[in-house]
Symmetry: C2
Subunit: 310 residues, 2 copies
Amino acid sequence: MPASYAYLGPEGTFTEVALRTLPEVATRELIPYVSVQSALDAVRAGEAEAAFVPIENSVEGGITATLDELVAGTPLMIYREVLLSITFALLVRPGTRLSEVKTVTAHPAAQPQVRNWLKKHLPDVVWESAASNADGARLVQEGRYDAAFAGEFAAARYGLEALETGIHDAENAQTRFVLVGRPARPAAPTGADKTSIVVWQRDDHPGGLRDLLGEFATRGVNLMLLQSRPTGAGIGNYCFCIDAEGHIADRRVAETLTGLKRVCLQVRFLGSYPRADAGPAEVRKPLPGTSDEEFASAADWVTRCQDGRF
Amino acid sequence: MPASYAYLGPEGTFTEVALRTLPEVATRELIPYVSVQSALDAVRAGEAEAAFVPIENSVEGGITATLDELVAGTPLMIYREVLLSITFALLVRPGTRLSEVKTVTAHPAAQPQVRNWLKKHLPDVVWESAASNADGARLVQEGRYDAAFAGEFAAARYGLEALETGIHDAENAQTRFVLVGRPARPAAPTGADKTSIVVWQRDDHPGGLRDLLGEFATRGVNLMLLQSRPTGAGIGNYCFCIDAEGHIADRRVAETLTGLKRVCLQVRFLGSYPRADAGPAEVRKPLPGTSDEEFASAADWVTRCQDGRF
């Protein structure tokens, strides 16, 4: 059996398209799962080497099913991320004209992205939600609906044709996917990395979140995502899913995590991995005083002061 | 020649009284100097082992002559501090009655402390400043003035008697003195220590001082003194003399100094030494997450995350 990657199925969704951008999938068996939870559980159980799931959407924000799975249960780690631009095609059975489309379907998450297009081009159409965009395409193939919003790539798989492509209400709509595995040593820094963590604060006090953000600011670490998630302990009890610029091997990131670990009730490390949105040349330089070299020379200075040599 | 301590003279001032509270003075030659600068220069030149000078007054604040000497020139280090309660006696030649006192003298720094007493008891008296309180007592001995404000201990030395003792406008008026030497390894932590530094910020920007204070707050280090001093580079250019709770051997203090060294233009370490105001039992415990043990275990956790072992 080859090493396998689990992913959020079914086949023919944006998730599969994003997954297939990873070079190593050529040597992996790709196995669709019906939910984020079942895909991640396959990794936890050792049935899959890794799982590929959506985690953040530029229109809707953090994908709570994935965040909640990473926050709780047996720890997992993120090793890769993929950004995919999301535009929809209107798929119909071959020969169908736009004026003949009376019913459309898609996953509910597609709706905010196609709402304006529908209002303009098909104001009287009836919307029915599908379990996934691929499933919607299948239902059109079966004649249940006249048209489906899905990725253009789904047309060939379901014997449909695209009446219209490039449909999106928000410019630059993107979904971020992550490849999640069991904990192991993170890949070495590339110079354009991010670090994901979850933190639970020790107590609820005025300025608590500001103090938490101070841990990052003091070390010159920029935040990329701050998403609060209920802890399940009642209204007002939240933990924070945080993505920060840099790699845990960077001294500014390591000291930030050390500070958070000291002052927070709990911190979960979710991984340091290459950024999909920027290469090393595009990443901002560390703020003055926050490079590895400056950390090292400042620590040397304090050691000399401790010895009275200065 | 025995090891010698320089001190701010002349003999018979509060400085000498404070100096004589240090146990080791029994085996030291004590040499008065005419100014803080000359006493500290004697240390820099190797003519004295250490110098004992006032540095902070609970009524007037930081003593700028001392701060400015520590801020500039060849680096020196503080090894000890002494707190002395300052109350004045009104010294007269034996037999003088209060109604006969028409002129009084003392060092100008004594004036704010005796002003209310004078207004009440000697409203019409003429004040003449002296170079020091001890010098004022000597001038009374010589008949130049009728009375001098000085420490009660000065009476015997100048053949005077105290018409009144315990004179002070502010309750708990205290002066803090420091023993300053050439840089060497600080004494080991006692559990009730303070650390003195001078910092010059990298640039002038909104929130600059708050960022600087964030370096302390993030590591749970409490400030005991923050005194701005002009850098000499023009109006608005200041450095900061800072006393903080804790010892440079404490991890929270060491990390704070490392952070300041990284982000500030310059940091001067002035020493870690026992607090005169509190013993170990009276010192507040480190804030949650800021003890040496918590720093160590948090650093261990980050190392495990870097290795993927958690």
